[in-house]
């Protein structure tokens, strides 16, 4: 590969951040001029970034991490962009899922939002998108903080875009708690700067390894600040209070992007700080991993219990996210090769599953107006494609073999064996069964409901209900749902493609 080509490749991650950022600032102008061009333009930008991320992924998988110093300032002073295989796979995930959600938004935004805010919706979407990609690739702590704030504020805007009382309240609550969280993160960054004098993660790791014996208490304090800050941001169980409101009252494309991507990028940032900056020795010496494991186990069980008692479909899905975040944190807490890899794989799998579920919830509300979990009667015949995708994702959520969720749960079980904590397997199985208790009744009602308890007689006679019809949702809503559902199956059968990326990073980290 010649020299020029390499330089171009080095610039690409930077373009991934800067193109959506510039496009988002063009969006209000475009919305004022030609409102109907907003959605295609946003889709084109997202698709372009997706193609770029695939090129980056192809380059990185050959074992060459991309490092780029922004505007020529070398790392200890300037901002460094570092794409390791984990970042590359997360970039592809973010861009791919965002593309699906964007295509879905074509019809959904017209249905769920007022016409006047749709331009601002795309602005917030692109800002959030660029913030997430930047957060994944950035190797500089303060830059990370700025991108955390960009992602957080634009995510609040995505919730508030609906403009109803509930969504405004939820957005305010999200904003206040998220700001408290990022305040904790910034304080932690200040502590790190105080200890090491660096903001670049690579240099922090070198410096911290030398001086960590001098500041044992300060390192404890820093770690606890980071756990609280990222715990609030990523909705780790006792700090998840904002999540169910924000995710259930947002418009469904926003719910999908919030639930599947936004909470995950914070986890990636946390992993980078915890395992690269602080390093494995501090991670094992302090009791941080015990804390994370305990919180994760509580999250897995309590999130599922809370989801079980919800009546509203999107609220149930939101609480299910709390439980699934527990799986990811469990993988981090285990700190063994399989555990960490499975945790990271679960980020990918859960992004596909939860996007699919939220998009299905939006599609069901679009066609039938039903929003409760006990109103699924006959839906399996009314909208076969949507319910098929819903069923696939729900099976994957429970952890049935051949679906994506099985692989990551199996990996977590292997990881807990590696970490000598075999009791955790029981917790994983129990949480999977709890998932089954609240997903299977919905599916059962959709396909096999008794004729007697049908509350929706307005759809004609029972005989007519039992015939398969085609979904009456626009094609632009149906295609993303089907694509994401196929992705769940693909991850279940061929997880190796993603695991190859993840294992490269995990091998470096552990």
């Amino acid at each position: 590969m010649d020299r020029v080509d390499l330089d171009t490749i080095k610039m690409l991650p930077f373009y991934c951040v800067i193109i959506p950022l510039i496009a988002s600032f063009c969006m209000p102008v475009l919305a004022r001029w030609k409102k109907e061009y907003c959605a295609p333009f946003t889709t084109a930008v997202t698709a372009a970034v997706f193609i770029i991320t695939i090129i980056i992924g192809n380059h990185v998988i050959k074992g060459r991490a991309i490092s780029y110093a922004v505007s020529g300032w070398r790392p200890p002073w300037g901002i460094e962009i570092l794409v390791d295989p984990l970042s590359a796979v997360m970039m592809m995930l973010i861009a791919g899922i965002s593309l699906c959600i964007m295509v879905y938004s074509f019809a959904a935004v017209k249905y769920e939002l007022e016409r006047i805010v749709s331009g601002w919706y795309y602005t917030a979407f692109l800002l959030c998108f660029s913030g997430m990609i930047g957060l994944v690739v950035s190797n500089d702590l303060f830059n990370m903080y700025v991108l955390i704030e960009i992602t957080g504020i634009s995510a609040c805007a995505l919730v508030a875009a609906k403009g109803t009382r509930l969504s405004t309240e939820a957005a305010l609550k999200y904003l206040l708690l998220a700001t408290v969280g990022s305040g904790f993160i910034l304080f932690g960054i200040g502590f790190i700067y105080m200890i090491t004098g660096h903001l670049n993660i690579t240099f922090i790791a070198i410096e911290l390894a030398q001086v960590r014996d001098q500041y044992p208490i300060l390192i404890w304090t820093t770690l606890s600040f980071f756990v609280v800050g990222f715990g609030v941001k990523a909705a780790l169980f006792p700090l998840h209070l904002w999540l169910p409101d924000a995710h259930s009252s947002a418009p469904s494309p926003s719910s999908a992007i919030l639930s599947s991507l936004v909470v995950k990028v914070y986890i990636i940032a946390f992993v980078k700080i915890l395992l690269i900056a602080f390093g494995l020795e501090i991670f094992h010496e302090t009791f941080i991993r015990h804390l994370i494991i305990v919180l994760a186990v509580i999250a897995m069980l309590a999130g599922s219990f809370f989801a079980f008692v919800q009546i509203e479909l999107k609220r149930r899905l939101a609480y299910s996210t709390v439980a699934q975040i527990g799986y990811v944190f469990l993988g981090i807490g285990l700190g063994t090769p399989w555990g960490l890899a499975a945790g990271m794989l679960h980020i990918v799998v859960h992004a596909f599953m939860k996007t699919c579920l939220f998009l299905c919830a939006g599609a069901i509300a679009y066609q039938t107006g039903r929003k409760k979990v006990n109103e699924f009667t006959g839906l399996g015949y009314l909208m076969p494609f949507t319910m098929g995708a819903f069923t696939i994702s729900a099976f994957s959520m429970v952890g049935i073999p051949l679906f994506g969720g099985f692989i990551s749960k199996y990996g977590l079980a292997l990881g807990s064996l590696e970490a000598d904590l075999p009791l955790l397997i029981l917790v994983i199985i129990l949480s999977g069964l709890l998932n089954a208790t609240y997903y299977f009744p919905m599916i059962g009602q959709a396909y096999f409901s008794q004729d007697g308890d049908s509350n929706h007689g307005e759809h004609g006679s029972n005989e007519a209900q039992k015939k398969f019809k085609r979904d009456e949702i626009p094609l632009s809503m149906l295609i993303p749902i089907v694509v994401v559902a196929l992705g769940v199956i693909y991850l279940g059968i061929f997880p190796g493609t993603i695991l190859k990326f993840i294992n490269q990073t995990v091998a470096v980290l552990l």
Partner: protein, 119 residues
């Protein structure tokens, strides 16, 4: 503890106390505007902390003076970072106040327990 040490590290203590106060105000005050003020107190304490980290005892502002080529300069980086921090804090405040105005139009009050159905 040594009084001298406390006096030397005075800004850090103030920063921690302000940070705790701000967090407490955000989490406990029923009034939404007071919550936003709490966030501002919290962020200001972080600014103070960063600038205290960059400070050197007996340091001069980091402007190069040919007459004193080896003067002890204060570290300018944390102060510069906090410029960005102030912008972030400003935008969060603006956004939060905009949402509060919208809620005020809906409910006619800014006192959270009067209307917050979400808990």
């Amino acid at each position: 503890m040594d009084l001298e040490l406390i006096l030397l590290n005075f800004p850090y203590f103030v920063a921690i106390i302000l940070f705790s106060m701000g967090t407490l105000i955000v989490l406990t005050q029923p009034n939404l505007v007071k919550k936003v003020i709490g966030i501002n107190i919290m962020e200001t304490s972080i600014f103070l902390f960063f600038i205290a980290v960059g400070n050197m005892h007996g340091g001069v502002p980091p402007i190069y003076d040919p007459q004193f080529p080896d003067a002890l300069y204060v570290n300018p980086l944390p102060s510069v970072l906090m410029l960005t921090g102030i912008v972030v804090s400003f935008s969060v405040t603006a956004f939060a106040l905009a949402l509060i105005v919208k809620l005020y139009i809906y409910y006619g009050t800014v006192c959270a327990p009067n209307f917050m159905k979400l808990k």
